[in-house]
Amino acid sequence: MDRIFSFAGLGDLLSLSFVQNAFVAAALLGLVAGALAPLIVARGMGFAVHGTAELAFTGGAAALLAGISVSVGAVVGAVIAGLVFGVLGLRQRERDSVIGVVLAFGLGLGVLLLSLYSGRASNKFGLLTGSIVSVDSSNIWVLVSVTIVVLATLAVIYRPLLFASADPDVASARGVPARVLSPLFAVLVALTTALAVPIVGAILVLAVTIIPGAAAARVTASPMAATLLAIGIAEVSLLGGTLLSLAPGLPVSGYVATIAFVAYLVCRGIGRARGQLRTS
């Protein structure tokens, strides 16, 4: 237990600038991931997000090998995946198999690229399991810009996107360009995923992009309340996870995923308790 929960020297750690950067990064990621999560859940995009994360991993691994910025590589990989899935997202039936195919290839390629990389081992594992050390101050500005772009775009397209997510036929009839919004939203998700990969790792991106939305959906159906609650859960998971991971020096992702999972269980419990009052 002592290895997993420890606060030894936490005060000193908190004064380090890379640790402070990690908290800023976690807070920004929580904001965008939480804002997108309810829509990701409503649109049934869980598998697409996972696929996007694996492609972000591939891009990051390629960048590591090429000696360029891992963030840039992750963004490129994720956006390509997002566009492919977003365009295919209109045809539900073949979507899962296409994502599976692309995901498997991307992951395999990424593993191969990582094996060829001869640099620090922590860089290798960082992409898969996340690492707060990966956030340096130059990345913070990338994070800030992406956060602003994603949130601003979401604010503009939110209502038509919600409409198209609820009822694509009626939304089209009302003139909502679902064919444009779907890939656009996939790109927003991809950008968020690319931000999340270095911090929580490719395999645990779902912890911050799906769990907060799924948890919120259990307790509220109000779009505003669901969004705020999802942001809250994402923030608590990411900031709490970062804090808990500091002293033990273990990957942040395990803590983040655990806190998010507990939040989900609590929300499910509340939802069930309330559901017994309603008959339907």
Binding site: V156, A171, A173
Partner: protein, 271 residues
Amino acid sequence: MKNGAMTTTPAVALRGARVAFGRRVLWESLDLEVAPGEFLAVLGPNGSGKTTLLRVLLGLQELDAGEARIGGAPVRRGAGDVGYIPQQKALAEDLPLRGADLVGLGFDGHRYGLGLRGRAVRRRRVAEALAAVGASEFAGAPAGRLSGGEQQRLRVAQALVGDPSVLLCDEPLLSLDLAHQRTVSHLIDERRRNAATAVVFVTHEINPILPLVDRILYLVDGRFRIGTPDEVMRSEVLSELYRTDVDVLRVQDRLVVVGVEDQHAHHEALA
């Protein structure tokens, strides 16, 4: 309503309309006027172009020839005075929407931006639309967890909240039980009587709406006939349309068409 309609602008007008996909002509030389407050049922087998007709009126499908007008103006995508009611499809359970939010999307869901201004107007209009369809009771419930009948009532409210002059319905009664079929068709009928909204109602089953229908457009394989139910739903008319022997029988107040394969509706997606 049917007489005297000539003096006003028709709510819906098609002139010499033609739609073809490749070499297959769905229909051509289609002339049709629907007066304000008129209830037009569109019948026909699968693939006869019923949904395509709605797509044309919604501005989602271009005509190859002729013209289509709504309220005297050429059709356009996303026109505010057109309401659309689709067939019942279950909403995603995890949808972050309450009943009232779903109706609200019909009011301004096609607009960009967060729409923080004008929320009072929106709330009032949504409340009115919910009350009109008797859905106020479940306005606060998660839309994705309501029953099919309740969801369909919300869709009627969603179509009415924009105060449409034309209501386009694509098999809105499909997969509803009899009680809900009656409720939903009654709500649509009430709207066209109270607000003179023209109704174009695509269906494969005429009986649930037979008492409400003013005229029928019957489409079969590029051929069509327009007229009152008594003019169209006759053995000789349908035999000519289907080019085979068809019998139309009246059993109490229901029509039974014999000799045509049972047309189980197969939904042609709009998007």
